[in-house]
């Protein structure tokens, strides 16, 4: 545990991505199984211990320390795990100095321990560990590591152990389980590559670049297929046969999170083995509903029959990554599209249909279609169209955001996806709620990508959304400076806000160099990880366009 704690401690301070990788890879090299496997599980968020709650930690410290001293300390430190780790008084029962627990011991014990035995066990460990160990233990059990390491980064560090492409690890990942001894065996060249036995695994998604006017000059319309850009949620719907030949179907978010449970009504439609890339929408009486309607179905814990009936789910398919046993990702998009059309026909389910292509032969024709989707084929669904997608006919399906393959061309040029960075309480009827938001976009910093604030917004959201953001702010505050809360804004943790604005101006008063006119929150993108938010370069290009 102490070696793992040392790693977490070091990672928490290390800003550079490459140095983080080195620290993690170094740990994997140095530490044996199964400890390193549980460490990988912790870093990828694959561990959770349902009984360990912050309230339990408070009770433990209350039984050992003066409440006034704890109160003053907590107020100063601002983090429960850290306060407790720092001020934990050594127990008197430790005459024989038992060795501190290993990480494996902690993980395996916590998995089997009942709720009533947990406090005593935690107390014993806290007595045995040093400060960093206690901090790491409390972070681990309460599930809030917050050390700026994404699951992807941890997997990349593991891949580096065997000089493998992180993508390879990503592909077999869904079939693996802690402590990943088979994975490490393969990475160290001692064993065969583990097979992904998951019948319905997630495939890393392909993303599009925002297109700029200048880009069109070098693009030939003949090379591209255009589709509507639907205002829903990007999902991957995967079905496969398990070892007994039964179909397993799963729905994944764009980041690979399994969201099947939220949409049980779509599962029966996925009755053929395959992997569809598409947009999740609400369709009532054959008409696609706006994103606001879809949002009312999202993030609900319980999916009631009433909810299913009022918000009928729909999958609009635009790509096929696998057809039965065949991986189609190496095929050109045009071929995959042909496979997709056949596949959707075979499925024959009203809940899944094909995203139509937009016919065009010149960029002018596409511009006209984008300006008026209703008369260009989108018909009554036009309200749910937020632009067009351009996909190269010959593009294979590549994970990430490969250059020049897919383009997105949104209808409103003055919309960006920004990341919530700071929040302040509002005034008047919004006092006590965090309703003033500072948001930022990505830019190249000294230590890699960093967020730079580009504006502030305090309207545009509904009262319901205000409650949601307020809750998010309070639960995800990393620091407090007077009335200002720093809200978690890391590549994989944070809230993406879609910000609409009327114009852009240069500003020397802002660090980013730009100022927005009338920015407002147009939508909450709970589905989007912060790393996919827009970049400052996008704004700078808009600025040039505005000037011209």
């Amino acid at each position: 545990m102490n070696r793992f704690a040392e790693l977490l401690d070091r990672l928490a301070y290390e800003p550079g991505r490459n140095n983080k990788l080195r620290l993690i890879t170094g740990y994997f090299r140095e530490v044996g199984d199964p400890d390193r496997g549980y460490a990988l599980a912790a870093l990828t968020g694959a561990l959770s211990f349902k009984h360990a709650k912050p309230a339990l930690v408070r009770d433990l410290i209350a039984s050992r320390t003066d409440p006034v001293l704890f109160g003053l300390s907590y107020d100063y430190v601002g983090d429960l795990s850290e306060t407790v780790a720092l001020m934990w008084p050594k127990g008197e029962s430790l005459h024989n100095n038992p060795p501190p627990p290993t990480l494996s011991e902690v993980v395996t014990t916590l998995r089997t321990l009942g709720k009533t035995e947990l406090p005593k066990q935690l107390e014993r460990w806290l007595d045995e560990l040093d400060e960093t160990g206690r901090w790491a233990l409390l972070k681990l059990v309460t599930g809030a590591l917050r050390i700026g390491v994404s699951a992807r980064l941890a997997k990349t560090a593991a891949a580096a152990l065997g000089d493998k492409d992180p993508h390879e690890v990503e592909l077999i990942w869904p079939g693996l389980a802690p402590p990943y001894t088979d994975l490490f065996g393969w990475l160290e060249g001692r064993a065969e590559k583990p097979l992904n036995r998951d019948p319905a695994p997630f495939r890393p998604v392909m993303l599009a670049h925002a297109i700029e006017d200048a880009d069109f000059q070098s693009l030939d319309p003949v090379d591209y297929i255009a589709e509507w850009k639907w205002d829903g949620i990007r999902v991957q719907a995967v079905a496969g046969r398990d070892s007994r030949g039964h179909i397993t179907a799963r729905l994944y978010s764009r980041t690979g999170e399994d969201i099947t449970q939220s949409f049980p009504d779509l599962v029966p439609a996925l009755h053929l083995p395959g992997a569809i890339d598409g947009e999740l929408l609400i369709v009532r009486d054959g008409r696609v509903q706006s994103f606001n309607v879809l949002q009312q179905r999202l993030n609900r814990k319980a999916v009631s029959p009433k909810l299913i009936k009022e918000f009928p789910i729909h999958l609009r398919a635009y790509d096929l990554l696998g057809d039965d046993e065949n991986d189609l990702r190496e095929l050109p998009f045009a071929d995959r599209r042909a496979h997709l059309e056949t596949f959707i026909k075979k499925l024959g389910d009203a809940r899944i249909d094909l995203s139509p292509t937009v016919a065009f032969d010149t960029w002018d024709a596409l511009t006209a279609a984008r300006a008026d989707p209703a008369s260009a084929g989108a018909g009554e669904d036009a309200d749910a169209v937020e632009g067009v997608m351009l996909k190269r006919r010959d593009a294979p399906y590549l994970p990430g955001r490969p250059k020049g393959q897919w383009w997105k061309w949104k209808r409103d040029p003055h919309i960006i996806d920004a990341v919530l960075m700071y929040a302040q309480r509002g005034h008047g009827k919004r006092s006590s709620y965090y309703s003033d938001y500072t948001f930022g976009v990505w830019t190249n910093g000294e230590a890699g990508d960093e967020l730079v604030p580009v504006g502030k917004a305090y309207f545009g959201f509904t009262d319901e959304e205000l409650l949601q953001i307020d809750r998010f702010v309070r639960r995800n505050t990393t620091e407090k400076f007077g009335p200002v809360r720093h809200v978690v804004h890391e590549p994989d943790k944070g809230l993406v806000l879609e910000v609409a604005f009327e114009g852009l101006q240069r500003s020397s008063r802002h660090k980013s160099g730009v100022a927005m006119r009338f920015p407002r929150i147009s939508r909450l993108r709970w589905d989007k990880p912060p790393r996919e938010a827009d970049r400052l370069e996008t704004l700078e290009r808009m600025l040039k366009t505005e000037a011209a």
């Binding site: 301070y13 006034v68 001293l69 003053l72 300390s73 100063y76 601002g78 720092l86 001020m87 620091e479």
Partner: protein
């Protein structure tokens, strides 16, 4: 005699009326008794200054020859009569030359401990426990979250990082009086014998330490050294310099900071410190409480720092305790370090 008739907080600092002097005055006074050389305690412009030889030398180094009207050096253990009181200096273990000042009037003894630590430090005389009736303690780290471990382990952490990143420079922020020399001495004790580089602002005081017989090994000014030659080396600099453009002369520097504040992670992150080294020249919580108890004092006055928690603790142990509202001490540690690199902790 009531203790407050012997020593009383005033705007200029702690005033001893029967003795006719102030301890560590923050404004110019006729007669000053100074505990140690840090700039928040030792200021220029007093009439007469009574301090240890080292403290006087440091003041001279910093403020020039005419920093006071007259000076008088006093040795540890030497007793001096000032007015109606007797004054005696005892080692405080904070930095070279630092002293606690015991003021005795009739049969009441008050110890003004200045800044102190009870942890070992190869660069200064160890802290001496002085039994007294009233103990005046600092509270820089007066919260139970501040527990400073063995400084040698922190230096091991630094050396492990140097081994892990041999192509990077390690830049250690350390207050230029005391902390820097202690870190160097600890590095030497850990077996590190390569040259250690110094920021220009540290040279004078560090050479003074060497002149007092403290072995610090080979030290080199960092100025003028080629960037590539600094890979794998350790440089000590004032904390303010480690976040300055000055750092561009180093190859991919790892920023370390040696301070008791580094115990709290947010403090390190706010400063952009990658390698926090918990090395403090102030007593930690356990040190403060153990020292208070050991002096046998029935009354405790708590100054600069986290007074609330320490006063609460004293009272819970049945001691009379009160915060002393003295201003002007330790401020540099809480705020951003001043540009001149003169902050100390």
């Amino acid at each position: 005699m009531r203790p407050q008739d012997i020593l009383l907080p005033t705007a200029a600092g702690l005033c001893c009326k029967p003795g006719g002097f102030h301890i560590d005055p923050v404004r110019p006074v006729d007669r000053a008794v100074i505990t140690h050389g840090h700039s928040d305690h030792a200021r220029a412009g007093h009439g007469a200054v009574l301090a240890t030889q080292e403290t006087l030398d440091m003041m001279r180094l910093r403020y020039g020859e005419n920093f006071a009207g007259s000076t008088q050096a006093v040795a540890y253990g030497e007793e001096i009569r000032l007015g109606d009181v007797r004054v005696k200096f005892h080692p405080a273990g904070h930095v070279l030359g630092s002293a606690q000042i015991a003021v005795t009037c009739k049969d009441t003894c008050i110890v003004a401990s200045g800044d102190y630590k009870d942890a070992p430090d190869p660069t200064c005389t160890p802290f001496e426990l002085v039994p007294c009736d009233v103990f005046i303690t600092e509270a820089t780290f007066g919260l139970p979250v501040f527990r400073h471990g063995d400084a040698a382990d922190e230096v091991k952490k630094l050396l492990a990082s140097v081994a892990l990143f041999p192509e990077r420079a390690h830049l250690v922020g350390a207050y230029s009086l005391g902390k820097a020399q202690r870190v160097i001495a600890l590095l030497r004790a850990a077996g590190y014998d390569a040259p250690i580089y110094l920021h220009g602002a540290m040279e004078k005081i560090t050479h003074y330490y060497q002149s007092r017989g403290i072995a610090l090994g080979e030290l080199r000014p960092v100025m003028g050294v080629k960037k590539a030659a600094l890979a794998g080396t350790i440089t000590l600099a004032p904390p303010s310099a480690t976040s300055d453009i000055w750092t561009r002369r180093f190859p991919d520097p790892v920023t370390a900071f040696a301070s008791g504040w580094m115990r709290v992670r947010a403090r390190a992150r706010q400063r952009g410190v990658e390698l926090p080294l918990v090395i403090s020249d102030h007593a930690d919580w356990d040190g403060l409480t153990a020292t208070i108890a050991a002096t046998g004092a029935g009354e405790v006055w708590v100054t600069h720092g986290q007074e609330d928690a320490l006063v609460h603790w004293c009272r819970s142990k049945g001691l009379r305790a009160q915060p002393l509202d003295l201003v002007g001490y330790g401020d540099e540690e809480e705020s951003e370090p001043p540009a001149a690199g003169e902050a100390e902790a």
